[in-house]
Structure formats: C-alpha cells, structure tokens
Amino acid sequence: MDPVSPRRLITRRAFLRASSATLLAAPLIQWPPVWESSHRFFSDSEAATVNAMCERIIPTDEDPGAAWAGVIEFIDRKLAGYHRRYQSLYRAGLQGVRESCVILFKKEFIDLPQAQQDELLRHLESNQAPGAVWSKVSASDFFNRLVEHTLEGFYGGPRHGGNREAASWHMLGLPTPPVRSRRPLNADWK
C-alpha cells in the first residue's frame, strides 16, 4: 500500500458504472480521460502502449520480461500514488509517442514490429523524436523516467505490483521468498 496517498476505496470503473446516467449527460472531461479502464491512471490504450514499451526495455528471452512480470501494474499504481508528480510527464509523453509513431511509421506503437519499436525508443532516448508534443516535454526525460520505473517495477519486490512471482529474483538466482527473523515470511511480501 502506498505510504503517502490514501488507498482508493472504490475503483474508478465501479464509480463510473454507478454514475453512468449522470456521465452520459455530462460534458466530455479531459481528465481522467477515459470512461472505462482496468487501471487507476492509464487508459486501456495508454496501458497497452506503456506495456509494449516496457517489454522492449526489459524484453522476454529465456526469462520473463516486463510484460509477463506485470510492470505496467507497478507503474500504474505508482502514478496514482507515490509517483503522482510524473502524471503529466506520462500523459504528454504518451501523446508524443503516438505522434512520433504516426510520423515515422504511420502506425501505433503496439502495432510495430520489435525492431521499429526499439528504433522509436532510441529516438526518445536521444531526444530526437519527431512531433510537436516534444517541444513541450523532453522525450529523453520521459524515456529515462520510464526506464527507471520499469527497472523499479521489474527488480523491486512483488508487493508493489510488479516482479510477478519474483520472476526477476529467480532469474538472478536469489533465494525466495525472503526469510524474516528466521521465520517464513508472512504473506504481505508479495
């Protein structure tokens, strides 16, 4: 549980369902930007893009990558909590990714083959991604922050939503679950 922000008592989805009649009559609001989402911060489409980007940052090989490990869950949770100061960076960054992909490849990020996804990430990393959005937010800032959060979510403890089943710790050859005070760890470690 995030130590700083209070846990949400209902999911956004439940709230929206409960007030759907009102919403249909309400003007379209920019934030939160979605009517239905499985996530706390990302829209389904944003989540799919971030998930695909994370999977290039830590790809699947003989061991699970970021997608299987659920890194998107970590990032989404933290953007709604401890990392909330990065919300506008992610919103703008993902708009920029969409714009750059359209300019370069005429497709969405999730529809690109891996080689072109990596090419796009290298553009972001070197701060040379095309698109008007990048005049307002730094592509390399966004990318570096995403890399950092991916590493946190993949190599940190499972309790934060990522590193599913301690996949990265198994990969590294670390004994799991961690022992506490010579007693088996209680359930809250994951």
Partner: protein, 551 residues
C-alpha cells in the same frame, strides 16, 4: 504553553544525542530529548528494496517527513531548487529515534591518531580550511572503548598494524567468513596489504539482551527486524528512560533556542505532533541534530546578542560542511561468489589511510554491503545501455558474480561548502529551511582516483576477470549520511564554533554534540567517533555539573 523545567534538553536522539541523554540521566540530571522523528519498532521493517534509507525510489521510511520538511539546494551553477528528503541533493541521513543508527550499515571505526592532526602532518592544501583538532586521539581513546562495550561492537582488528592504540579488544567476534572474504583476504595478503574484519555496531552473538545477526541481505539502509544491529534506540536510550530521569518526546520539531538577557540559553521552542508551539526551559541545551540540522538550528536562533545566529559571531556556523567522497570498483568474476549472507561488508584494509605519496590522507577500503537487485541495475560499465537485452544479460550474468570494493576518502574542508538558512523557503511549521551550497575540494577527485586504482588492484588479485571503476570525477557538495564539520571544534572563537568540550565559545550552557564538531572526518565512517565525542563531552558536563548549571 510552558512545561516543567528540566536540567538538560537534548535536541536529537541519534549517535550523539542518545549517548548524551543516557550519560546525563544516569548522573541524575532531569533530561528531555526532543526528536523530530518517530519511534520505529523492529518488526515494522518491510525489507523493501525500493523504499529504505539507502535506496529512496519510493521514499524514506525513517524520515524526515516527505511533505513537511524541504531544504534548498544550490547547484554548481548557482541555481537554487527546493528539494525533498528522497532527492539526492537533500543530503538526507534520517529522522527517527536513533537517527541514522537505526538503519545504518554500522561500521564502527576509531579514527587514527593522525586523523586529529591533519594540518600538522600534511599542511593545508590551497583552498582548504584544514586544521588540527584541538583534542587528540588519546583524549578520546577511553570513550571509544566505552562506546564499543556499552553499545556493542563486533569485529577483529588484530590484523591491522595501522590502527590507533587500544587497551581492550572488541566485545564480540566477527561473523564467519563470507565467500567474498574467502577470496579477498588472501588476495590482500598476496599484495602485501593487511586485511582484517571490519568493526561493526552489530551483535554477532547475543549481547546486551539482544540476539545476534540473522545474516539477511537487508542491512544498510534498513532497520534490523531481529534487533541485532546496535543503535542508540535499542541501547543507551532505553537505559536513559529506565533511570526515571529522562523523557523522550518524538515528533518534536525544535524551532529555536531562546536566550535570557545575560546571554545564557534558557529554553528551546518546539512544535509537538499536533503543531502546538511549546517552550521547554532547561539549564543546559544540547544540540545533536546532525551537521545540517544543528547548524540550521543555531542559524535560526537569532537574538540581539547573536544577530547572525547563536554562536555565529564570526560566520563559522554552517561552514566546512563535509562528508566522504566514496570511490572504488566493481569486480566481475567467472564463478559464483554470492552467498546471500548479509551484511556483506566484512573485510577491510587501512594500508592507504595515510602516507600516500603526493596525497593528503586517504581512505580505508572494504567490500561493500550487499547489492540488492535494483541497486545492481545501476552498476553496469560505462557504455552499457540501461535498457534492452544487453542490460538484462548484464544483470543475469553478473549479479551472483560481483564484488564491490569502496572507500570513504577523507575530505579537505572547504569554507564555502556550507549550510545556511533560506531567506524565503520555510517548512510546514514556518521555520526557515536549510540551504546547502558549495563544492567539495578538488583534492577529493585525486583521492577518488587513487581509491579506484587500489580497488581494481585488489579485485584483480582476487580473480576478477573485469573491473568497472566506480569513481567520483566531478566536484559536488558533499554531506549525506556522513555529514560533518559545520560547528567546528577549536581553541579560537574566531575560527571555530565550539570549544574542545563541545561548548559554544560564547554561550556557557549550549553544547553541540554530533558530527558538526568534527574538524576533519577521518577516512572512515564517522559514527563511533560521534559516540566517543558524546561520551567525552558528557563526562565533562557531568564533572562540572553542580545543580542548575556548570561550574
């Protein structure tokens, strides 16, 4: 609202304040300890790789408050920014009962005799305020010993011919050799060096009513969930409270020290956890907030007698801020070297603390505390991308095949490396925050290169097939967890803040007892020296106490 008058109010419950509270309470003084942080119990420790005092990706569990206590950091180009406890430039240590001693790695070094006489031995480099301490190692030796036995130190320094003279051995033995020690110790010996077991403030066997270390990988930066790590919160502070003469008030934010018309301190003002402003009167005020917060408190305690801050007539309060410049190397091995037995750091050499040609001082070198996976993710060689299959391969291949050797270079103090109070930014309680500015001395860069050279040599002799230098190459403000120097001890009131007994030169009843008083900081982690000075200064206070004040 006023409270019952006490003999001593101690600001801070860390390595300095915790010891002073116990010493004075045992001597019969009535003591109140005001600690800005909270009590932490051992079973609260979450062992969270991402949230601890060493890796603050998800915040600082042991303080200070991430929403109430900012600072201001001025970078090398002079740009000032507000910083928060989890940010690197904040230069955090901790804020909780026990201070840094709750979660430190607990290396427990006596400084060497030469460390108190750096100017006489080496001369002051240009641009440094290097000076000798006004006290010697011999003055502190009995108090180092007291700290070792009363708080509890384990290790074996018998193999170290460079160590300062000592009477008694350490009370506890070192832990059994880790796999790293098994390769590093003979390698150091083959190089003609003198490896030995690092003294640590950690129970290795049952001691003082607490168990020995459980050898987990969550030590440095974490509270100890089996309570084997020795801090002031589980040793001297409980002893102080048990005397019946000591009260500890956590979540108490001290705003200023108040003087009477004669220039004696009469009280401290503080905010309690309900943000009520309270006044605690006392015969003695002991300032033990750490080098940044102690200087801040003095600077914020302005009066007609001291318009620039208490004890700051000559603008030396907050000056000479220093820490330790760490450098060393990562060694990669062609075989598994990982045993998952903490704390990780175990074996050290002091062959390079002094007498290095062309250099002033030096550093001890030791293997590092265990790297957790997320920490290791930042250790790739230059040129390794931080993402993609290459980085994943690096992690998978080398995590169990790596050893890191690092050392804390002794810094040359710099006058303009300093703590001030910010003219505009205030904390939650309206108190001006600490403003950090300046750069460390360029000599640190040379020491860091030297440290990395020796670390690489050691690792290669131990069998590393590749080494990656972890070397500081730029000047920056140095403080952090080893922060020191801001209320320098000295004979001359014009070039120091406290006298040789830690008393403010011009105020009879205010003492600064923490690493602020360190003239220099040794090539070692400073905490045992802080504790020794606390015992030493308390001894002075006890001998001169005559009820209501000092003789």
């Amino acid at each position: 609202m006023s409270l019952k008058h006490v003999n001593a109010v101690v600001v801070g419950s860390g390595a300095g304040g915790g010891v002073v509270a116990k010493e004075l309470a045992e001597a019969g003084l009535d003591v109140v300890v005001l600690e800005r942080g909270r009590w932490v119990t051992p079973d609260e420790e979450r062992k969270d790789d991402l949230r601890n005092q060493r890796t603050t990706a998800l915040g600082v569990p042991y303080g200070p408050d991430e929403e109430k206590e900012p600072r201001v950091f001025v970078d090398a180009q002079g740009h000032a920014q507000v910083v928060w406890p989890a940010d690197g430039p904040y230069n955090n240590n901790a804020a909780c009962v026990g201070g840094g001693t709750l979660s430190y790695g607990a290396m427990a070094w006596r400084y060497m005799a030469q460390d108190f006489r750096m100017k006489s031995l080496y001369g002051a480099p240009a641009g440094s305020t290097l000076e000798d301490w006004p006290i010697t190692y011999d003055d502190l030796a009995p108090f180092y010993e007291k700290a070792e036995w009363e708080i509890g130190v384990a290790g074996d320094q018998s193999g170290d011919p460079f160590k300062a003279p000592r009477r008694r051995p350490l009370p506890m033995p070192p832990l059994p050799d880790s796999r790293e020690t098994q390769v590093l110790k003979p390698a150091a010996q083959r190089l003609g060096w003198h490896p030995f077991y690092i003294p640590m403030l950690r129970n290795t066997v049952p001691y003082n009513g607490r168990a020995g270390c459980m050898r987990c990988r969550w030590c440095c930066g974490f509270a100890c969930e089996c309570n084997a790590k020795c801090g002031t919160q589980n040793t001297v502070i409980p002893t102080a409270l048990a005397t019946g003469h000591c009260e500890l008030r956590p979540r108490s934010i001290v705003a200023g020290i108040l003087l009477d018309a004669k220039g004696r301190a009469q009280a401290v003002e503080y905010f309690d956890e309900r943000d009520r402003r309270l006044t605690q009167t006392a015969d003695l005020v002991i300032v033990s907030g750490g080098a940044i917060e102690s200087a801040r408190l003095l600077l914020n305690s302005k009066s007609t007698l001291f318009p620039q801050g208490l004890g700051n007539r000559f603008d030396w309060v907050g000056r000479n801020l220093q820490g330790h410049a760490y450098s060393g190397a990562l060694g990669l091995f062609d075989h598994d070297i990982y045993d998952d037995l903490g704390p990780g750091a175990e074996i050290a050499i002091c062959d390079f603390n002094h007498g290095n040609p062309g250099l002033v001082g030096g550093m001890m070198l030791a293997n590092e505390f265990q790297r957790l996976p997320y920490q290791f993710a930042g250790m790739g060689p230059p040129g390794l991308p931080r993402w993609g299959k290459a980085h994943k391969d690096f992690m998978r291949t080398w995590f169990r095949r790596s050893i890191v050797i690092m050392g804390p270079s002794q810094e040359m103090p710099v006058f303009d490396s300093r703590v001030q109070v910010d003219p505009r930014v205030r904390d939650h309680w309206g108190i001006p925050v600490a403003r950090l500015s300046g750069l460390d001395h360029p000599h640190n860069i040379e020491l860091c290169r030297f440290a990395s050279d020796k670390a690489e040599l050691w690792l290669k002799e131990a069998g590393a097939i590749q080494t990656v230098r972890r070397q500081k190459t730029q000047q920056w403000l140095s403080a952090g967890q080893h922060q020191a120097g801001t209320c320098r001890m000295g004979h001359d009131p014009q070039t120091s803040v406290v006298d040789p007994h830690c008393k403010l030169h011009e105020v009879d009843n205010v003492f600064v007892i923490d690493a602020s008083v360190h003239v220099t900081n040794g090539g070692f982690n400073p905490v045992l020296t802080i504790m020794a000075i606390a015992y030493y200064a308390s001894d002075y206070i006890k001998r001169r106490w005559r009820g209501g004040g000092l003789r």
